[in-house]
Amino acid sequence: MYLTDKFPKLKALTKAVAMAVVVGAATQMPSAIADETSCSPFTPLVKGQEDFVYVWTLGVKGLGDESDKLVTVDANPASKTYGKVINKLSVGGRGEAHHMGFTDDRKFMWAGALDSNKIFIFDVATDPSKPKLVKTLNNFVAKSGLVGPHTFYAIPGRMIVAALSNAKDHGGQTGMAIYTNAGEYVSTTMMPTTNGGDGFGYDAAINPNKNAMLTTAFTGWNNYMMDLGKLIKDKDAMKQFGNTTVMWDYKTMKPTKIFNTPGAALEARWSYAPGDNWAVTTTALTSEIYVYKQDDHGEWQQHKVGTIGDPAKIPLPVDISLVSSGKGLWINTFMDGTARYWDMTDPLHPSEVYTKKIGEQVNMVSPSYDGKRVYFTTSLLSNWDMKGKSDDQFLKAYNWDGKDLKLAFEIDFYKEKLGRAHHMKFQARDLKTLQPLQASTANKLNFASNP
């Protein structure tokens, strides 16, 4: 007799869907080899075939229900609904949906809205094919003083929420808030404004093995909510972009070194390949690649290692994603809709080895853990996306053989009346190997209160 037979409550609970996360979820890779869509190294990874791709989608006025929504796409080629939208979950209203991140157990996914400052927590474990909105945080501004919850980065038992702006002037001075997994506010750390710091923020990424966290810098609400054409013509506004990156002592959450990195460094990625000790970012306005590597004395140094396209044309490098071996880097350039693959075998001397036009515009890129499948979406910000016919909005899935991207499927998010396709996350399930030993979601979120 099993426990499920003895306890009806448990039996009901374990009927729920389980995730096929990494083999042996008990042991989350001390030397993680990971960039499964740039997840936190504290989060279990989907190392096999992903079953679903979640797309955090911006609502568009006059299109469908006009609301921001979480779109679930079947990504398993063995499924009858492969390449189809199998679920849509609107959150009500348009708040500038942007990025998402799993909790450290991959049971929940947080998704943020840069304008409304709402944070949505979805249960993606009970039935991964039908995520359920279980909590909405409306206190981000009141609790943290920050605006624009951008990056959701799991640490043990908590979530770092890296913001873009602040409530006082909606400029670029910002910081990072920490919440418990249950959605209770813990603390705020401001970006440094002394010793060379400019106070701007954007992304955060941690290398636990090095006790290091790299943060980057973008721009405040005043700019990211402005029409891009208007913004480019506004000289004062164009001065309000971050020009620094910061290496932190993750444990103490104190800056250890501040770098001059002109041109708004965006996504921060670590190579977790064994023996590697470097991170990488790209700058949106200056089209440069920067690598951060420890020198012989263990001090972090910044290296400008490459130029993406023709900076004079402002190709606008946006999302980047390292492959799991750390040997390759996908870089999307928004303005020409092009995906670029860089050989990072020698991270200090990388080279562009492949390009492919994905669409009129392209923003996010998410390779599978084995690197064989690569997914692209289009939206950057609602007021920065292309206008008219150039405003492609899609999810495209490709197979990658190391030489060429071959289209597997695509979904037109306008034709489907969904909206602007932005951030992607993968999920998997395997009912045959795992069942959750969990109480109801309501109980799970009825967490201990803050002191």
Partner: protein, 259 residues
């Protein structure tokens, strides 16, 4: 009737002896030699996985530039949840009596966990911390370890008693108070693990669909201050004896300062 009772007692006795023996065997391979202050002494096994893990651990510790104790603050994350547990004598007690008054390291585990990077890793790490602290009775008396089982069906109070005795075998006069707790049943356990935010799954056999004896989970160790507030959460990816000692010392300094 009497024969039936005798038989039941005999079976119960055999189960107790077997459970204790199994617990001893399961844990003894991870216990460092008595009193030795060596973060790596527990990884002397010749088993390839552990040897490899030892290398990773050494590399990680060498790479981590830990700030000096007391020079940083640990977040007040949330109050340690309370709940009903069974101690190793089978007494029904409140968990809160083991999560306040001392600096507490608490982790969930199950005795059958065989993953070198899971429960055994937590046990080994905590044992190394214990050995270090017990060199100084003034420190060891301020610290408590708590293990709570995921598996109340198999990890009975009798089983916990065996593990507890084994864990506290050294330095009797100034041993760290190391408690092994279990719960009456899964229904009592679930609110506890949910309160702590500790996930756990039940692994099923791929072919039969039947439950195995594995409980995959993300390893977490909680550092709780004497006021019962969780101040740090560690996972396999971010855990070393040095880090635990550093953080415990940081909390002690905080108390000294009266923060």
């Amino acid at each position: 009737m009497i024969q039936n009772l005798q038989f039941k007692y005999l079976v119960a006795g055999l189960i107790f002896i077997a459970s204790t023996l199994l617990g001893y065997i399961a844990l003894s391979q991870y216990i460092p030699s008595s009193g030795k202050v060596d973060a790596f002494s527990a990884f002397s096994s010749s088993r390839p996985i552990e040897k490899e893990f030892n290398k990773e651990l050494q590399a990680r510790i060498a790479a981590q530039k830990l700030a000096a104790a007391g020079t940083y603050e640990l977040q007040k994350i949330f109050n340690a949840p309370d709940g009903d547990v069974l101690d190793s004598k089978g007494n029904a007690v409140k968990l809160s009596q083991y999560t306040s008054g001392k600096y507490t390291l608490l982790t969930f585990f199950y005795d059958m966990c065989a993953d070198a990077k899971g429960c055994p890793y937590a046990f080994t790490t905590m044992h190394t911390v214990k050995n270090y602290l017990e060199k100084t009775p003034a420190l060891s008396k301020q610290v408590r370890f708590v293990n709570i089982s995921f598996d109340p069906e198999r990890d009975t109070p009798l089983m916990m008693a065996g593990l507890e005795k084994r864990a506290n075998r050294n330095n009797k006069d100034f041993s760290i108070d190391w408690r092994y707790l279990t719960t009456k049943n899964i229904d009592v356990l679930i609110p506890l693990i949910d309160g702590y935010g500790q996930n756990v799954d039940i692994a099923l056999d791929k072919d039969s669909g039947k439950r195995t004896m594995e409980y995959p989970h993300v390893l977490k160790i909680y550092l709780i201050d004497p006021k019962g507030v969780i101040r740090e959460i560690y996972s396999t990816t971010y855990l070393s004896p040095e880090m635990l000692l550093n953080d415990i010392e940081t909390l002690m300094i905080e108390t000294e300062k009266g923060v």
